[in-house]
């Protein structure tokens, strides 16, 4: 395959620049909190600037190709190479990860959760960014795995140290679940490596040679890889870590988890699992589709039962990622495009919802829906934003959520050749019911939290402190997300154009593969 290798140091800078900030921050004394925050913010902004430069250098007319490609020797003994490259598939998420990090840094300016220590908190966030940026450009499975795992420890500490009451349990659960999945994913990678002649871990090489593997072995390997990715997504029935992790994580952690970390799983399916083993993907597609739809319904029902706002949003992630996985499981151009769009849209919308939940908690010191009411009268701007995000999340046309959800459902009408049409049409109908449930739980949430009069408990504010509306860091951190939600909702083609060429390639690979 052809590669564009110009400007190839840029991508490296884009991944590893945050480490420079980490290095600086280590030498800044713990007490200079403002200096710490400034350096962290500046680093993330500088990284984003690199990202924007990359976006400008990116040749959109060749979005299906690997651009800014780097391929150097790394560990010859293991035959792992350092291969990175950006195509239309990775670009949106690569940028999203940079944007979200900046916004989270801005938000952290006056929202360092207990027990404080911004130095450690921000350093972890920057380390996290390295892993996230790296995953979306890695083109070698071992490299992918290393980046995939780098995010684990920072997030573990973020939840465990700065989280809510039940943080220790939640953080360990998050870690063990992910580790369990990724251990098997690694075995899948190794099996793939040996079955293709023990030559290379490069995704491109494996795509060219994996077709020769025995069909049954392919199924096992895909299963192992899918297990690791499914835990991360998370798909039903591996989702149980998610509500705990989200609920206990500090706001920043929840936002990053929702906006980026969950995408590592779905992205992995599209990036390598399906293109390398299209035959096996066809065999597994019905299973994935069924689990996805179970996730949609289960997540929605879970939402209806929640009494905690943050936990409700967490369960809604299970449902939304179900739509994404449903789109992927159709293995069509249409479905995978919808899934990719859904990933970005969910990142923006749910990230935003978690931000709002965090700020509500800051003001009311509770997220119990029963005790909250009348947000619109006490903090009207925030209340309206909650309304907008709820609409976006339930898939209102004109906002970003719609373009992830609706096409994903529609794509199930006509899955890839060789997949059972009646099955996927049934899935389509059930998923459509899921959107109704989504409207129900989101509107109900909005109604209970934002409408009406404040409850007696908070009528005079929290313990005499008036409930303030949004302040500067919140405006700064949220505006870009809101703009993103609206712009992508009105002009979805902006993104579809970028991702389409890569997805056409993948859909073609699936189509060309024999049977299933």
């Amino acid at each position: 395959m052809e590669h564009l290798t110009s400007n190839n140091t840029l991508l490296n800078v884009g991944i590893f620049l945050p480490l420079l900030g980490v290095l600086l921050m280590i030498f800044i004394p713990k007490k200079d909190e403002y200096f710490q925050k400034a350096v962290a913010l500046a680093t993330s902004v500088a990284t984003l600037v690199v990202g924007i430069v990359i976006a400008f250098k990116f040749d959109y007319s060749k979005a299906g190709l690997q651009q800014l490609h780097v391929d150097t020797s790394w560990i010859p003994v293991i035959k792992a190479r350092y291969i990175i490259g950006l195509d239309g598939l990775g670009l949106p998420l690569f940028l999203l990860s940079m944007v979200i990090t900046v916004l989270v840094m801005v938000y952290s300016w006056n929202h360092i959760p207990d027990p404080g220590n911004p130095k450690a908190f921000l350093i972890l966030m920057l380390v996290l960014e390295v892993g996230m940026n790296g995953v979306f450009v890695a083109q070698d499975l071992i490299l992918f795995f290393v980046f995939f795992e780098i995010v684990l420890l920072p997030m573990y500490f973020m939840i465990g140290v700065w989280g809510g009451e039940n943080r220790q349990y939640a953080s360990l659960k998050f870690f063990l679940f992910t580790l369990f999945g990724s251990a098997f994913m690694l075995l899948g990678f190794l099996a793939l490596f040996f079955k293709t002649g023990a030559e290379s871990f490069s995704i491109e090489y494996l795509m060219a040679h994996a077709g020769a593997i025995d069909h049954n072995v392919q199924l096992w390997i895909f299963g192992a890889m899918a297990l690791g990715l499914a835990v991360k997504v998370p798909m039903f029935p591996f989702h149980t870590w998610l509500p705990d992790a989200h609920t206990q994580a500090p706001t920043q952690g929840s936002v990053i988890l929702a906006a980026i970390l969950l995408k590592l799983g779905t992205f992995g399916f599209v990036r390598f699992a399906i293109p390398i083993l299209p035959e096996a993907a066809k065999w597994w597609a019905p299973v994935i589709g069924i689990l996805a739809v179970i996730g949609i319904i289960y997540g929605a029902l879970g939402c209806l039962a929640q009494t905690d706002m943050k936990r409700l949003i967490a369960f809604s992630s299970v449902a939304h990622m179900g739509f994404v996985m449903l789109g992927i499981s159709t293995l069509t151009n249409f479905g995978i495009s919808a899934a990719m769009f859904g990933m970005v849209a969910h990142g923006l919308i749910t990230g935003m919802l978690f931000f709002i939940a965090g700020s509500v908690k800051d003001r009311y010191h509770t997220l119990e829906i029963n005790r909250l009411s009348g947000l619109l009268t006490q903090a009207p701007h925030m209340g309206w934003l909650l309304g907008l995000c709820a609409m976006a999340s339930l898939g209102l046309p004109g906002l970003a959520g719609f373009w992830g959800e609706f096409p994903a459902i529609l794509s199930a009408y006509k899955p890839a050749d060789g997949l059972s049409v009646p099955l996927f049409r049934t899935l389509m109908v059930i998923a459509a019911i899921g959107t109704v449930l989504a409207a129900a739980y989101l509107l109900w949430l909005l109604q209970r939290v934002a409408f009406g009069e404040p409850t007696a408990e908070f009528a005079d504010g929290y313990h005499g402190h008036a409930i303030g509306d949004m302040h500067m860091p919140e405006y700064l951190a949220w505006t870009p997300l809101i703009i993103g939600i609206i712009v992508l909702g009105v002009l979805p083609s902006l993104m579809f154009k970028v991702i389409d060429p890569s997805i056409v390639n993948i859909a073609k690979i699936v189509k060309d593969s024999v049977g299933g």
Binding site: S73, W74, I75, P76, V77, I78, N117, A120, I142, F145, V146, E149, I150, L152, L153, Y156, F157, G160, V161, R167, Q168, S171, L172, F175, L176, L179, F180, A183, F184, L186, L187, L190, A191, F193, F194, A198
Partner: protein, 499 residues
């Protein structure tokens, strides 16, 4: 008879360059012993410097030999200096150096005998270096005793402490028992082959096929070494010894002695009787699976940090054994992956014990809660320990990840269901392992300091140096593993032993 043989005796050709590392270390041992006689009590710390410098001096001939690169064979093939032995000698010497750094403050402050300690420690390291070069039953056995006997005494170094005495005695009794079992197996092999050279034995074993006699010999030898490397179900001595022995000695036993045991095992199995793989492969399969699973499950329940590391070390031993379970089919990968694993494990575990030493020096308690709140008052130590724990758990970008990757790779490269099942067991175990490594991380990062005591920890210089070396090594093995793994690429050696 004996006289007649003596008459035919020809003086073997001695390659002094090849023997230089051993000779230098032997001279250093004598030097430390002599110096100890003349150094007054309050300046005994000088002996530790001598030991450290002596070990660094030992590195020099190892490096010149490595640069020279030629394989050297002596005593009719009984003693060999090749890449395999050089990388291991370097590993033992560097690990020994780190142990010296770990021990010096401990001995000084505890008021323990110093000169003798260093002599015994260096002797044990000398034994390990000999082990790396031995290709003969007798030299293997002599090396093994040479490295073990000083270790028995080191384990009992806190002589007024009952637990330490128990540790020494237990280690001695079980060690001798294991040696006896192993020796019996060796005698059977000698009886079969009429030679003690591993190459001769290998040829005879190939000719003979899988007879009951060979099976018996193999089982005895493997069981003997299973004691030495504390593989389940022969591990029961390890936690008691590790807990009772002085902490730096525990670090030494759990890393260097254990590594030497694995080296001997590799030599015997892969050079001595590779042809009997139908016998030893299933043995190792069961041993590896049992060792990691049981080690991990019991480690989960530990509350004492050193005991937890003892069981962790048992479990890690299971991972090191994994490649041998498919040793016949996996080829080069077996040795490469085992040597890489030993290198990673040495760096990481020594570092972890360094942190334990630094922390217990202040808290004076051995339970996990003693690590509470470490991050709040000693962030450097907490981060270092986190890196070590992540490495032991096999999380990138640390050395442990590539070590585990190598082991999995070796097992899967053999192909077949047995390899896949063992790899799956290993994968599940690496998740279980995180549960207890994570427990310690949790204490350090998320729990408050016991009794609210958050005075900063003063780390002695020697310990700081040891931690610096081990942190760098752990990260280097993870980020640029190629630099280190290249030395572990021992295709030539394996090429030589393939039947």
């Amino acid at each position: 008879m004996l006289l007649a043989a003596a008459a035919n005796w020809v003086r073997p050709v001695l390659d002094y360059h090849a023997l230089a590392p051993e000779i230098v270390l032997a001279v250093v041992i004598c030097g430390v012993l002599l110096a100890d006689l003349f150094i007054p009590e309050h300046r005994k710390w000088v002996t530790s410097s001598l030991a450290g410098i002596g070990l660094l001096a030992t590195m020099l001939p190892i490096i010149t030999l490595a640069v020279n690169g030629a394989d050297r064979t002596m005593f009719g093939g009984a003693y060999v200096v090749d890449n395999f032995s050089l990388i291991l000698k370097a590993l033992f010497v560097i690990a020994g150096y780190v142990v010296v750094l770990l021990s010096s403050t401990y001995l000084d402050e505890g008021g323990y005998y110093q000169g003798e300690y260093w002599v015994l420690l260096l002797s044990s390291i000398l034994g390990m270096m000999m082990m790396a070069s031995s290709r003969d039953l007798i030299s293997i056995f002599v090396a093994l005793e040479f490295l073990s006997i000083p270790a028995y005494m080191l384990a009992a170094w806190k002589k007024r402490d009952l637990k330490s005495n128990e540790a020494g005695l237990k280690y001695f009794l079980l060690g001798v028992f294991a040696s006896a079992v192993m020796l019996y197996g060796m005698s059977l092999l000698y009886g079969l082959a009429g030679s003690t050279l591993l190459t001769d034995i290998s040829a005879k074993v190939n000719d003979a096929g899988d007879t009951a006699l060979i099976a018996l010999a193999v089982v005895f030898i493997v069981v003997g070494f299973a004691f030495k490397v504390s593989a389940v179900p022969f591990h029961t001595w390890a936690p008691d010894v590790y807990e009772g022995a002085p902490t730096p000695v525990t670090a030494f036993l759990s890393v260097a002695s254990k590594a030497a045991g694995f080296v001997a095992l590799m030599e015997l199995v892969l050079l001595g009787f590779p042809g009997a793989w139908r016998i030893w492969q299933p043995l190792f399969w069961v041993l590896a699976a049992l060792t990691m699973t049981l080690g991990n499950l019991v480690a989960l329940r530990q509350t004492n940090v050193v005991r937890m590391f003892a069981y962790s070390s048992v479990a890690q031993g299971g991972f090191i054994l994994m490649p041998l379970a498919l040793g016949h089919n996996a080829g080069t990968e077996v040795i490469t992956s085992m040597v890489s694993y030993l290198a990673f494990y040495a760096a990481t575990n020594l570092g972890a014990f360094g942190v334990i030493l630094a922390v217990t020096r202040k808290t004076r308690r051995g339970d996990m809660a003693g690590f509470g709140g470490l991050f709040s008052y000693a962030p450097g130590l907490a981060v270092a320990m986190t890196i070590f724990l992540a490495s032991l758990a096999g999380i990138p970008p640390t050395g442990g990840f590539f070590a585990k990757l190598g082991v999995f790779k070796a097992v899967l490269s053999a192909g077949g269901a047995w390899g896949a099942v063992l790899a799956a067991i290993g994968a599940v175990n690496s998740v279980i392992a995180f549960a207890y490594y994570g427990k310690l991380m949790r204490e350090m990062w998320m729990n408050p300091a016991p009794d609210g005591d958050t005075l900063p920890i003063k780390v002695p210089q020697a310990l700081t140096a040891a931690l610096g070396i081990t942190v760098l090594a752990t990260l280097a093995l993870g980020i640029i593993p190629n630099v280190v793994l290249r030395f572990g690429d021992l295709s030539r050696l394996v090429g030589a032993i393939k039947p």
